[in-house]
């Protein structure tokens, strides 16, 4: 039965709005690229060139993600995140700056999350004064790897779930995204603990833009920025400083944000995104299905990153056997097992990218584009694999370079047997539904994983 006229009109309306939102987001990307964060494109999706740091920051802001931005000092790691955050969350740049937390050894929970209201404490009341970082939907942690490892644990829960606890009080962010920057290893940096690093959806490098663009950046006035508005910044800070319920404050912030957005549109012709628009974009994004190839390819990648023939699954403390049949697969080259956060990150970012490009479903190209940035920080390579690759000619930092190579390699394997893998999954569906069918066999961990699943399901 066809749609009713009402439903068709609704669909059309949705389509128009969706198209408008997409155009708006692309305008934001273009505006930042042309005016605020000058950089070279360093990746392609289909035929379209993008700058990975800017693209993934935008997708992170849109889909409530968590991004780790690495790079040399002074190459715009924090700046790119600030611009994207300001424009997608309709907040003045000065407020974003005020909410940022810097990682350093002396950093405390009181600066990052909240502190007791000393005046009220003197009166015997335990009231928490929450930090801007905890309250605002945009969170930027600068130089996160300068936080000692013990202090990194403090922000785990906040980063993961948006739960911020202090004393006996808690606030939960219903919408938030997080950007953290990290310099390359030097004497002042610490290693990011594995549970923290796994919570980041993506890693990108903010690169040197090349001498010509660097000169253009150098010619700009450092103190003038169109996204700043001292007047609005003060108003926002006044709301955040109020002793009110968190949700009430967020409503006030959204109202003020609407006025700020109108002001930016009127004064500077800059369009930013409202909360409703962000929600609508997320809803549309989440509706995008993965086509069967993207689906099967992702399963193939996960199989290689989690499989162990001998010990049942990858474990950081298990050593691979010499002469294992699966030495040609990724499982043999890495130490750890990929986490369950990985497929969530892949799906979310691939859907966002497909939406941004106006595609109706997530395909292999979207997967191939996002996977290296989602894998690079999550895979712990074996030392011999790193030593083989670290002197290779490349344009990316080693971990992203290795992740790109890894994705190319798995894709090649998938492409060689995509029909067989899809057939194996289809047969597995029938078998798990009760049909008497033998699982399809093949030379890839995914076939054994399917068999293991069927042993459980049957």
């Amino acid at each position: 039965m066809g749609n009713t006229v009402f439903e068709q009109e609704n669909d059309m309306q949705k389509y128009r709005e969706n198209g408008n939102f997409r155009q708006k987001v692309r305008t934001i990307y273009q505006f930042i690229q042309d005016n605020l964060y000058l950089n070279r494109p360093d990746m392609r999706v289909g035929e379209e060139p993008f700058n990975s740091a800017l693209l993934f920051s935008l997708l992170t802001a849109l889909n409530r993600g968590k991004e780790l931005i690495i790079g040399e000092p002074g190459l715009g790691k924090t700046t790119s995140a600030e611009y994207v955050s300001a424009m997608t969350y309709r907040l003045p740049l000065g407020l974003i700056w005020a909410s940022e937390v810097s990682g350093h050894p002396e950093q405390t929970e009181e600066k990052i999350i909240g502190r007791p209201d000393l005046g009220r404490l003197n009166q015997g009341e335990e009231v928490v004064v929450w930090s801007y970082l905890a309250q605002l939907p945009v969170k930027i942690v600068d130089e996160i790897n300068r936080l000692p490892e013990t202090k990194q644990s403090m922000i785990l829960d906040g980063i993961d779930r948006g739960n911020w606890e202090y004393l006996n009080d808690v606030i939960i962010n219903d919408e938030y995204c997080l950007f953290a920057t990290a310099n390359y290893q030097d004497r002042g940096t610490n290693t990011l603990i594995a549970p923290l690093i796994d919570r980041f959806d993506v890693i990108v490098e903010s690169r040197h833009p090349g001498p010509d663009m660097a000169l253009m950046i150098g010619m700009k006035d450092r103190h003038e920025n169109v996204l700043r508005s001292p007047e609005y910044e003060r108003s926002f800070q006044e709301i955040l400083a109020q002793r009110r319920d968190h949700h009430e404050k967020m409503h006030l912030i959204e109202d003020l944000s609407t006025r700020f957005g109108d002001h930016m549109k009127k004064e500077h012709r800059i369009e930013m995104l409202s909360k409703d628009e962000r929600q609508e974009i997320r809803a549309c994004t989440q509706e995008l299905p993965l086509d069967l190839d993207a689906n099967a390819f992702l399963r193939t990648v996960i199989a290689e990153l989690s499989f162990c023939y001998k010990y049942g699954q990858k474990r950081s403390d298990d050593q691979c056997d010499e002469g294992c049949h699966y030495t040609g697969f990724l499982c043999h080259h890495m130490k750890n097992c990929i986490s369950n956060r990985f497929p969530t990150s892949v799906r979310t970012y691939a859907q966002s990218l497909a939406w941004l490009l106006g595609d109706e479903a997530v395909g292999i190209d979207h997967m191939k584009a996002v996977l290296p940035y989602i894998l690079a920080h999550r895979v712990q390579w074996k030392d011999d694999v790193i030593s083989q690759k670290q002197t290779s000619t490349r344009r990316d930092p080693l971990q992203i370079f290795m992740a790109k190579e890894m994705v190319t390699e798995v894709y090649r394997r998938y492409n060689e047997q995509s029909h067989q893998i899809k057939n194996a999954l289809a047969v597995a569906y029938q078998s798990a539904s009760g049909k008497d069918l033998e699982p399809i066999e093949g030379d890839h961990p995914i076939y054994l994983e399917i068999k293991r699943d069927l042993e459980e399901v049957r």
Partner: protein, 230 residues
Amino acid sequence: MINPFEDFKNYPYKKKEIPLDRIVQAKEKVIGEIVEGYLKLVEEEVKDLVWMVEHSRLIKAYSSAVRTIQKIDYDTDDIEELCIELDKGDKIPYLISGPAGIYLSALLNNAKEDTIQLGLYEFKRAFHFLGYRLPQGKTLLLKGNAGDFIGAGLSGGRLVVEGSTGNWAGAGMMDGELSISGNTGQNTGAWMSGGQINVEGHILGIGKTIHGGRIYHRGNLIRPYEASTR
């Protein structure tokens, strides 16, 4: 229980296929057709559960068997498989010696191969009528003892028996060669009109009526008398 493969519900799938399975399946199909043909012949021929060896009946049964097997794509392995089935009796509920032999001969005479070897050592039953109307250009080698009417109506082919035969070996043969390394029974070469029979073992009896052809015993011509005494 969650089906983790739900996304592939509508993907057109192909079952797992092992090449050997396919071969076995094809073989089973062919042997099924052959057995079906035999049962059809038996049904036509043995309406009153008695089958008499009469010339016209033989011709009718053979013609019927040839018609039945025309559409079957078989080889000598399938013929051997039928012999095993006839001997075991698992797939075939009743073995009537005459029609079984006629049917086997129709299969042998119409096989793609020119030279066919059939091992009879391991069978408990004796197969009759093997080599019936074996045509010119065909060679049939029977390894082991065979039953009655071996090489009956031989029509130009070469039939070699590495073993003994029962009665009526080479009966009514018209042309070709029947060589038997063992013994033969009664009425060897009865009604033969052409061709040659060679017997290395003992001959229990020669057919009373012989219209033509020659019978040799251990290299010596014993029929026709005229030629042998000349």
